[in-house]
Assembly symmetry: C2
Homo-oligomer: 189 residues x 2
DNA sequence: CAGGTCATCCTAAGCGCTTGCTTAGCACCT
DNA sequence: AGGTGCTAAGCAAGCGCTTAGGATGACCTG
């Protein structure tokens, strides 16, 4: 049929997000993709290699969302608001991929973990920088910039623990809510 | 020797927190406790039964921390501050148990999940109620009370994803930081 | 106080099953 | 004629859990 590699990746996202990496079998992934278990090893070196491909792509997508949002605005208030808004919305709209990104780091090999850790630090740095600039310009009042940046990201990250598509809150509503809370965390007292 | 059941529980907390439920073997737990694999089944029906015992005790401890903090204060501002402070501090000081409480729900049987879910709802309800009372008294200005309550709890919950004892922030510092951020989320604009 | 009884707590051994992954080979397209 | 993408079959290892029985100490009995 269509792209078999893509079907395999989509099946793995579902399986890993629903059951976790360790509770997911290669037979489960393969059967969701309509293939034999051996087909997985045509496209990936191992089950962990497949996880890494998903995790890396997910990290790059999340980083892209944040940097794009930051690039759209000049003043720190609008920039922070857009960053947390879009980061939250991405986590809700891609909650299965995001769950793999945020909760399956421990299953990666040291080499693979080192690569995705670089992307994670880039995301944190982007949030820290907008807070620092806002403080410098007097738009924000934040005593602990790294800690507050971590807290803002925690809102979106923790969403994937409980979020279900079709629940009472849409991705847009959550994005608006968390972007507003982030601004309240940074606003001068 | 000493309490063998307690040693088994302590070993399981370490193993489940470090490697996750599914990646932990009964042989690993038993050897950490200095026992044979079969000893686990003297004290628990199954590996999942052991997880449930840890999860239930952890949930009750966390719920107790929140209700105790709430009971110590009358006005909503002080009460909210104490609740988020103590809830955060508990998650940092008991980060291994908290990791099991927050991240291993999917490994529980439906019956066991139903019981811990009751305790989780009790915690959420306590936070929602203090927000509602604060809004009623004019101390808080919160548009989405359930969503904001969820966000405040998310801060402490997400901490267990990255917290390591002996890191740059102490449990007290984190508790102060997150309690302050929670107040900023609720304070009138 | 000596000897027997019983419950408690644990272990050695291993059963049946599932796991991630490999191998050999087939079908199809160019 | 050869490369590509897949499968059927199965291997070695590790899994959760069971079974049968040994060691220990508390407690009766004569």
């Amino acid at each position: 049929m269509d792209d078999a590699r893509g079907r395999l990746a989509a099946a793995a996202v579902e399986a890993f997000a629903d059951n976790g990496f360790h509770a997911t079998t290669t037979r489960d992934i393969a059967s969701r993709a309509g293939m034999s278990p051996a087909a997985l090893y045509v496209h990936h070196r191992s089950k962990e290699g497949l996880l890494f491909a998903l995790s890396r792509d997910g990290h790059l997508a999340a980083l892209d969302v944040v940097t794009e949002a930051a690039a759209r605005h000049d003043d720190p208030t609008a920039r922070l608001q857009a960053m947390i808004h879009d980061f939250t919305q991405w986590h809700a709209e891609h909650s299965k991929t995001a769950r793999i990104v945020q909760y399956e780091l421990a299953a990666l090999t040291p080499d693979h973990l080192a690569e995705v850790a670089r992307h994670r630090r880039a995301i944190e740095r982007t949030v820290r920088e907008v807070l620092e600039e806002g403080v410098a310009r007097g738009e924000f009042e934040v005593a602990d910039v790294p800690g507050t940046a971590l807290a803002m990201l925690s809102l979106a990250v923790d969403l994937v623990r409980w979020y279900e598509p079709g629940g009472s809150r849409s991705p847009q509503q959550l994005a608006d809510l968390y972007a507003g809370l982030a601004l309240r965390m940074a606003r001068p007292l």
